[in-house]
């Protein structure tokens, strides 16, 4: 099952995904990340190149 967790604390937003196939996780969260502000780190995990994929994005506000 595809899932997204967004954690917001003290001006920082962290977006974590799991269960996506390959780079689909990035496509699913890009729009949200752009709306939220400037991405300060974007860390595809090793799983991004397998299936399912995960991606951690951190946004500073």
């Amino acid at each position: 099952m595809e899932s997204i967790r967004v954690t917001i604390k003290k001006g920082t937003v962290k977006i974590e995904t799991s269960g996506f196939a390959g780079p689909a996780c990035k496509a699913a969260t890009d729009g949200l990340a752009k709306k939220l502000g400037k991405t300060v780190s974007d860390e595809p995990t090793a799983e991004m190149f397998d299936q399912p994929a995960t991606l951690d994005t951190e946004i500073g506000r």
């Binding site: 997204i4 954690t7 604390k9 949200l32």
Partner: protein, 156 residues
């Protein structure tokens, strides 16, 4: 005393900002052109990181705004006892400026509700954007407050 601070918030949607204000316990006052503060600029605050005047803002603009934010049901009043308000000004670059006077008990009352430098309000804006975007994209979304963080879990 006048300690006016300008805080930028990444948001260009008044509806989102209003919802975030209400989450904090505040009230959004559309088209209120002034916000309550000390009332006149005394040039008495030397905090270079937070003072709007030291960051180049024209002090004659303090107290003026396009919309205002207040503690729900409490009309603002200039002067030391307040209650004071937050001014909202569109910056035209996808951001709003939030102006407020953080001095004394009237300033602290705003910070208790909206956070120091409007930090709690900014987090609620991010939460509102997040929830709206995820729901729009067809996700089932739940929200929880965990150890001071706002956490959304979305599945589909």
């Amino acid at each position: 005393m006048s300690h006016v601070e300008e805080v930028e918030v990444e948001c260009d949607d008044l509806d989102v900002l209003q919802a975030a204000v209400e989450r904090c316990g505040g009230e959004f006052m559309f088209n209120q052109r002034t916000y309550a503060w000390w009332g006149n600029w005394l040039n008495d605050w030397r905090n270079a990181e937070r003072s709007a005047a030291l960051q180049g803002r024209d002090p004659t603009t303090f107290g003026k705004c396009e919309h205002a934010i207040r503690v729900a049901g409490k009309p603002g009043k200039n002067g030391h006892s307040g209650p004071w308000e937050i001014g909202v000004i569109a910056k035209g670059d996808g951001k709003f400026a939030l102006d407020y006077d953080n001095y004394g008990s009237a300033g602290r009352a705003l910070e208790q509700m909206f956070g120091v430098s409007c930090g709690r309000l900014k987090d609620e804006v991010a939460a509102e954007i997040t929830e709206r975007e995820l729901v729009r994209d067809g996700w089932r979304v739940s929200r929880a407050d965990v150890d001071g963080a706002i956490v959304f879990d979305a599945t589909r």
